[in-house]
Symmetry: C2
Subunit: 406 residues, 2 copies
């Protein structure tokens, strides 16, 4: 396993975790752009653009892109979040250069008006479908309520209104503002021929012009507001609560994840034994969400409406107790064993390593081996958890609940 | 990569694909039992029993099982199909022996009446939930209609009636008839200490008494019947069609899979370009389903009700054309490249290899390396496809369609 990195003249960084033993090569472009970089009138443009990227370039039609990905036997996809847009594929090592050529080409999409109009319908259907599924938008509404006028309040999908009103020119303007070579990272893992990759991508991106991209990353303070939404077709109550938490560069984030595992993992945590094992809730977890400049803890409770009041009350009591008496050594040991085991089990596929290495590079500009990541967690002590809880008291949640009787 | 196998005195076979380089150990019990081994009054018992297996043994409560799996940092689960029930977990290599001890212990579950009554509610909810999701039972109804009185006509989940009426004694009777050590295979992959595994499992299964288990595996001839079911809440038509196809031991099954990829893969196939790329359907695939003694090709079409007639007509025409003019060399080459690439990409995790090695052993009693499997596919010629189509004409589908206007 060898880490390699190189920056091209146009600003594009190429990084790779090379493992000559691997049976596959995972290739991705991480773009530092997402819902938080959108203005309200173009909400949803990052995600819509992600779809348009596969609709062809100057030299390739949408059919060409589709057929070539298929001919390379690749497994490919993309996703958009608040902070990043990621395009990726996995191929056999002998196809890494043609696959890279294709993936690089689509990073400069044509955004043809016809394709734009057709794909808009696909996005609108996706929004409609999403709104009809549990938790019925509770997640997006909770982020919006918690973050107030902070950039992180935007929904990734956008709204039916914003996407309907979006023009092809607005998307092009967004693309021209965000997709600078310096704002993209080419991230590879597995069986990578790094020198050949750099050579080829240098040629293939010669015409990419660099420009400055900025992002505001202020610290957010959650509003602590409450909102209840009635959804008659729902059988259960779906509740999201958000608390302030460590940011993506805050060293206490490791303690934050250990605490989340102890308190709110989906199996074997305090919430599991209190709510799931006893049948008081269908689902109950707490997790850490780290962003650039700010962060949050998010709890998700799904239960019968009749049990809502008691459960919400109980979560508050359990958090107060956590703050007062901390965690036990046994809890710490079990959590570390779970976290480290999952990190190793996840690391076996080059594609998984690519996501981990890419996210780390995009958020912090650093590279960690699996071993180094594990060591960071193993260094967490009970005192670290106590310090975390002094800094983030988890006593002032922003709450959004959707249910049949709200 | 080394293949090892050993049969214990009680009949239990232990097989493993050992890779000392792997970061994890995947452990599973493959049980040769499923819906096809059920009589009508106990329909669903295999799947219900799969749930009960995690509810504890003589020496472990349900909480113990849950907690220990967690302490081992394992990723574990189980599934039931027409022909097999599989229990598995993945752990770090240093935990393979305690994880194996746990997994072996739960293969002799207590089936306590209290747990049985509680879990029955979970199963009934699962059946209700499943019935409310697309394709609204079309899959199970199509199998039932196609297979007539053949054992494969049973639904894996069973029905609300059969599960409600099921008693704990009936489940015990089924367990005592099916879970003979000779009917189980212990399958491992990844970083396996094979000798230590055999030693331990020999000790841990000393009290397992062998007995004979039989299964009828007659060839089925599809009924070719049609059935339309009205479901007002559905927005689209969901249609399953079944045709006779090669069995799990039929050498033409490789040609069957290549043909399915060319005709009905979810990307880049004839059906893809005809229905998906043009927007005539939301989803349209054809795949090969191989069972012991018999087999089928299954097509799944999901489209607007207004497009149903034309689409179904078109599928029949396309199959007739396939039968008449066969496939092209380009199609064959593309399909082989896709299939082989996916086999390699899937093989990277020990857990994936375990599923592949285990299924192959259970269905055919043979072991193939990744290389050997690929070579089997690469040997398929256009003549093989023609011979397949002479044997299985794909001209007499059994059809079940569920939609709002049926």
């Amino acid at each position: 396993m060898q880490f390699r990195s190189h920056q091209l003249e146009n600003g594009l960084e190429v990084i790779a975790e090379c493992n000559p033993q691997a049976y596959s090569t995972a290739i991705s472009y991480f773009v530092r752009t997402g819902a938080r970089d959108e203005s309200a009138p173009v909400a949803g443009v990052s995600h819509f653009l992600e779809h348009m990227v596969f609709k062809g370039t100057e030299s390739r039609s949408a059919e060409d892109v589709n057929r070539e990905l298929d001919e390379l036997g690749s497994q490919s996809n993309a996703f958009t979040s608040e902070e990043q847009t990621v395009y990726y594929c996995t191929v056999l090592p002998e196809y890494q250069l043609p696959a890279l050529n294709l993936l690089t080409d689509v990073m400069r999409p044509s955004l043809r008006q016809d394709d734009f109009d057709m794909e808009k319908q696909v996005i609108l259907e996706e929004i409609a479908k999403y709104a009809d599924q549990p938790p019925f938008g509770a997640h997006e509404m909770a982020l919006a309520l918690h973050f107030g006028d902070h950039p992180l309040h935007h929904s990734v999908l956008g709204t039916t209104e914003s996407v309907s009103a979006l023009s092809r020119d607005q998307m092009l303007e967004y693309f021209n503002r965000q997709y600078s070579p310096g704002n993209l990272k080419l991230v590879l893992a597995g069986n990578v021929d790094f020198d050949a990759v750099v050579d080829q991508v240098e040629r293939d991106t010669k015409h990419w012009t660099p420009f400055d991209v900025t992002r505001d990353t202020p610290r957010a303070v959650g509003t602590g507001d409450c909102k209840f939404i009635r959804k008659e077709m729902a059988a259960l109550d779906y509740t999201i609560q958000l608390y302030d938490g460590p940011s993506a560069t805050d060293p206490t984030r490791y303690a934050g994840r250990v605490m989340s595992t102890i308190f709110g993992d989906d199996n074997g945590s305090r919430m599991f034994w209190e709510f799931i094992d006893t049948g008081k809730a269908e689902y109950a977890v707490l997790e850490s969400c780290e962003y650039q400049g700010t962060g949050a803890f998010l709890s998700y409770l799904c239960c019968q409406p009749s049990q809502y009041d008691a459960n919400i009350q109980r979560i508050a009591e359990m958090l107060a107790d956590l703050n007062e008496t901390g965690i036990t050594n046994d809890e710490l040991e079990l959590a570390l064993s779970k976290i480290c085991s999952h990190i190793v089990l996840q690391s076996e596929r080059p594609a998984s390593r690519m996501f981990s290495v890419g996210a780390n590079w995009l958020q912090r500009g650093t590279y960690h081996t699996v071993r180094e990541t594990i060591d960071q967690y193993k260094a967490v002590t009970r005192d670290d958890i106590q310090n975390l809880l002094t800094q983030f008291k988890l006593d002032r949640p922003t709450t959004v609940s959707v249910g049949p009787k709200k």
